[in-house]
């Protein structure tokens, strides 16, 4: 197999694989499952927020635990 053929084959595989990605836009009114308590990292949001705040202050790493957001798109 020549180098050009290998290159073409690789590009075709990459192009084809890009078409089967699972990205999808979840609309604001479709976020009920994302807002479900079982989708949260911690069962106690307030305690987790406090612990995160404490850790970020001690570590000098504000934002290091990610930003807040329940996923419901609520303002």
């Amino acid at each position: 197999m020549t180098r050009a053929v290998r290159l073409a084959l690789l590009m075709m595989v990459l192009a084809a694989s890009s078409l089967v990605t699972a990205c999808a836009t979840v609309q604001p009114w479709q976020r009920g499952r994302l807002a479900s308590p079982c989708m949260q990292f911690s069962p106690d949001g307030e305690l987790a927020a406090f612990a995160s705040h404490w850790q970020e202050s001690r570590e000098g790493a504000a934002g290091g635990n990610g930003l807040q957001g329940g996923g419901c798109g609520c303002k």
Partner: protein
């Protein structure tokens, strides 16, 4: 990977990302103002009776799109119910359109709640799609001619005060 393959590979990866949804998101993010539209909606109420938005022509209609999993929606619900009780004698109607996928989630919230607004069920999201909703909760004020005049995203006391002024304004207008 040989150096000759790096750039073509990077190019293909970039094109793949663009094709798989990044580009549409960027395009949506650049939309500054969403034009107000009034969709033709026919949705069932709790008894299964179909209710048409057009049947409220001649009245001022507040359309509230809510879900049981959305905390500010639940905070807004009794406030809109109070608005309805206050202004219904002058021609205001309130349609609370629920977009929960499972109706039982909505009825669990509504059970035991002494509400008087019209609750309609829209598990397929026809109403938010029609109104081009951008965030939950969003509510819309439709005038007596059936034209959507105002929209408010989110809910707080400021929105409520603004709504009172707008409702008063629309109620003063003749059909």
């Amino acid at each position: 990977m040989t150096p000759a393959l790096r750039w073509p590979t990077a190019l293909v990866c970039c094109l793949g990302c663009l094709a798989s949804g990044v580009a549409p998101r960027l395009a949506r993010a650049s939309e500054a103002v969403v034009p107000l539209v009034t969709p033709a909606l026919v949705l069932p109420d709790a008894s299964g009776t179909s209710v048409s938005l057009a049947s409220f022509r001649g009245k001022v209609v507040l359309v509230d799109i809510w879900a049981s999993w959305c905390a500010p929606c639940k905070a807004a619900f009794p406030a809109y119910d109070a608005l309805y009780r206050e202004y219904r004698g002058r021609g205001l109607d309130v349609l609370a359109i629920n977009v929960d996928e499972q109706r039982k989630a909505a009825t669990a919230f509504l059970d035991g709640r002494d509400h008087q607004v019209h609750v309609l069920f829209d598990p397929k999201g026809l109403a938010p799609t029609g109104f081009k909703l951008k965030g939950m909760p969003t509510s819309y004020l439709i005038d007596r001619k059936g034209v959507t005049r105002f929209a408010h995203e989110g809910f707080n006391a400021k929105v409520l005060a603004q709504y009172r002024r707008e409702i008063e304004q629309l109620l003063e207008e003749t059909p």
